[in-house]
């Protein structure tokens, strides 16, 4: 499951970040912002138009991510 498929108010844990191109700036920046394997994430809110972008809480920080960006975040399947 990917982060963009998570609905508002739901929690999950990051499995890994998918790199789309050889030099994927978005994927690298996600890592620098703390989107690393094992971190819990929560979708705080989704945008008013088409549910895009999404506000994601990771640790104590919130980030606004477009769905295409969130789709790079692969979540752990719940056991």
């Amino acid at each position: 499951m990917r982060l963009d498929e998570l609905s508002a108010g739901m929690n999950a844990v990051i499995d890994h970040i998918e790199t789309r191109t050889a030099d994927d700036i978005v994927a690298r920046r996600l890592g620098e912002l703390g989107f690393v394997p094992g971190e819990p994430v929560k979708v705080v809110a989704v945008g008013p138009f088409g549910g895009d972008p999404m506000a994601v809480k990771i640790g104590f920080t919130r980030f606004a991510l477009r769905r295409t960006e969130a789709a790079r975040v692969i979540l752990k399947e719940r056991a």
Binding site: I25, R29, L33, G47, P48, F49, T61, A64
Partner: protein
């Protein structure tokens, strides 16, 4: 004292770590704002003296999430920190500011900075907030792990940086000795440091952010709140500013009367009263409105609301081919397009950045406010609509909306010619914060100085020039018409008239358009000068409103309003576009398309107003 040269220190940190508050706390008003050589990233330097009397030159570097730069701002920070920036001496000390309540994110950057191998102080800001949340941070342990001094500060509290100042008396001279124990994995180090040095309360209560964001980011209520805020902001610009504006205006009139009574009639009195006072006075009057607008923008920015507005509007911006990131530069452009265009540096995507630069001048800047305010107060009756809304405020709101709508339309039109690529948003929604009074006052002070020095230099110079143009040559003896008809300005105005008559402009407006190119608000003072010299009574600064409403038709006023929604941009904007894009091509495009749009909009407005019977009687 052993040292004679001041210590060169640089503040670094993530965006939203409270770095600028700390900078303001440390340096107060001893700040110099300029640009880095070659680029337009803002360079802020200040001076301070430590308790023991040691002088420190402190550089406030742009906020960065990583030294792997993805924007021009971050590139400046990376290069200055590494001592690779040309024309900038390598800092002798790095002061790395981390938000104590958000160490999970900020500590990673702190580690990157420590790894640079320069003498470093780690500053944990907002220690009070961290304690309130029940966080216990073991500073000595953290300092031992990082191998460099760690101090806590509360940047927004008086004397909140005392520990840091004391440490600056004897700053570290050796680079940090990091204990690398996690195989070089920076995230693993962060996690280890958090478990070893930070104790959290077992059950965290629901944070303020959670409760506020439920409303502020709500799909419906969020938009309602945003619209209400914007609407109140523009109403406030008109209503709150009125008393101070009235005071300034009567002060200016009294001053003019005083000079008139002291000096004999003649060229010098005319220059002082009609040229300088009428010119500068009509513009200084708008200082309260401009400050109120800036106050709103500063409060929204400092409180952490602006990125949330960007979140709500991202999809709207995306439909115009932009990202929510463009919202902040565009909102700044409501104050002035120059800082707005400079703020586009935070947009990583070059195309998004270019489009934002091109449409920034369509956001109604504060320099247009004097023109709008003058015309609205002269032609739009002051009455309540629906019992609550000031009709003048509504018209102003409408003008702003037309600007925004046009900007989005232009962005959309430009997007259609492009291949679609991904435009990243990836934006932090920072914690809500009560804006500190000191930061607001300093911010407003800097704006007031910029505005007044513009009045002092460009506007007074142009007013005097225009006064000369409209006073010479003097009418021949026995001439019957108004003196200005014989002057250079009058002739120039008549010369331009064939081009502008189809959109309802008078030759006096044509005269005022010329200096309006240099700075839009000068158009108001230019009108004052033209009518002051043209009329029999020379006390026009305070009488401009009734003169305009008696001499122009409503259609002319509306056409001029439409003109000013689009054009012309001021030279400062064109100059900053040239600097930001490194060429004249975009400058020519911007100026050209705006002139075309302005002419078209004025033409349509004029025709429609004529058809409605609002033309000259």
């Amino acid at each position: 004292m052993v040292e004679t040269l001041p210590l060169r220190a640089a503040l670094v940190g993530n965006p939203n770590c409270g770095k600028t508050s700390l900078f303001n706390q440390l340096t107060g008003s001893r700040q110099k704002v300029a640009n880095y050589a070659g680029v337009t990233v803002e360079r802020k330097e200040g001076r301070l003296t430590t308790p023991a009397g040691r002088a420190v030159r402190l550089l406030d570097l742009p906020g960065a999430y990583s030294l792997e730069a993805t924007s021009p701002d971050e590139a400046v920070t990376r290069d200055v920190c590494a001592g690779r920036y040309r024309g900038e001496a390598a800092p002798e000390l790095l002061i790395c500011v981390l938000d104590a309540t958000n160490l999970r994110l900020h500590l990673r950057f702190g580690l990157e900075v420590c790894r640079l191998g320069r003498p470093t102080i780690i500053v944990l800001n907002m220690l009070d907030a961290a304690e309130k949340e029940g966080l216990k941070i073991d500073l000595p342990r953290l300092a031992a792990e990082l191998g460099t001094p760690v101090v806590g500060v509360v940047a927004i509290r008086k004397n909140g940086a005392a520990d840091l100042l004391a440490l600056l008396d004897n700053p570290p001279v050796m680079p940090p000795v990091l204990r690398e124990a996690d195989g070089g994995d920076i995230h693993a180090t962060v996690r280890r440091l958090l478990t070893e040095c930070v104790t959290r309360p077992a059950v965290a209560s629901e944070a303020l952010e959670d409760r506020l964001d439920r409303w502020v980011l709500h799909p419906v209520w969020g938009l309602v709140i945003l619209l209400a805020l914007m609407f109140v902001m523009f109403q406030a610009v008109f209503s709150w500013a009125q008393p101070p504006m009235d005071a300034i205006e009567s002060g200016m009139t009294a001053f003019g009367e005083l000079i008139r009574s002291l000096l004999p009639a003649g060229l010098i009195r005319s220059l002082l009263v009609d040229g300088i006072l009428a010119g500068a006075g009509t513009v200084v009057v708008f200082l309260p409105q401009i400050l109120i607008l800036f106050l709103w923008i500063l409060v929204l920015e400092e409180s952490g609301y602006l990125p949330r507005a960007a979140f709500l509007l991202d999809r709207v911006m995306a439909s115009a081919g932009l990202s929510g990131r463009s919202f902040i530069p565009l909102l700044s452009s409501f104050a002035c397009a120059v800082p707005g265009i400079m703020a586009t540096r935070t947009i990583q995507n070059p195309r998004d950045r270019l489009v934002t630069i091109l449409i920034a001048p369509l956001m109604t800047c504060s320099a247009r406010l004097p023109v709008y305010a003058l015309l609205i107060s002269a032609f739009i009756p002051k009455r309540l609509v629906g019992g609550v809304f000031n009709q003048q405020g509504l018209v102003l709101f409408g003008l702003y909306m037309v600007g925004i709508g046009s900007g989005l339309a232009v962005a959309w039109a430009m997007k259609r010619r492009e291949v679609t690529t991904e435009h990243p948003l990836l934006m932090e929604l920072p914690a809500y914060r009560l804006p500190s009074l000191r930061d607001l006052v300093l911010g407003l002070w800097q704006r007031a100085v910029i505005f007044l020095s513009r009045v002092g230099t460009i506007i007074v110079t142009l007013s005097v020039l225009l006064w000369a143009l409209s006073s010479f040559p003097a009418p021949p003896a026995g001439a019957t018409g108004a003196p200005i008809d014989y002057s250079l300005a009058g002739r120039l105005g008549h010369l331009m008239l064939p081009l502008f008559a189809p959109i309802g402009f008078t030759w006096q407006i044509c005269v005022a358009l010329i200096p309006g190119l240099a700075a839009r608000e000068v158009a108001v003072s230019a009108l004052a000068t033209v009518y002051a010299v043209g009329g029999s009574e020379t006390d026009a600064a305070s009488q401009l409103t009734p003169i305009l409403s008696s001499q122009w038709s409503l259609a002319t006023a509306l056409s001029l309003l439409a003109w000013y929604v689009y054009a012309p941009q001021c030279f400062a904007t064109l100059a900053v576009i040239r600097r930001e894009t490194g060429g004249w091509k975009v400058v020519a495009q911007t100026a050209g398309y705006l002139f075309g749009l302005a002419y078209l909009a004025s033409f349509l407005t004029w025709r429609i107003a004529l058809a409605l019977g609002w033309g000259p009687s």
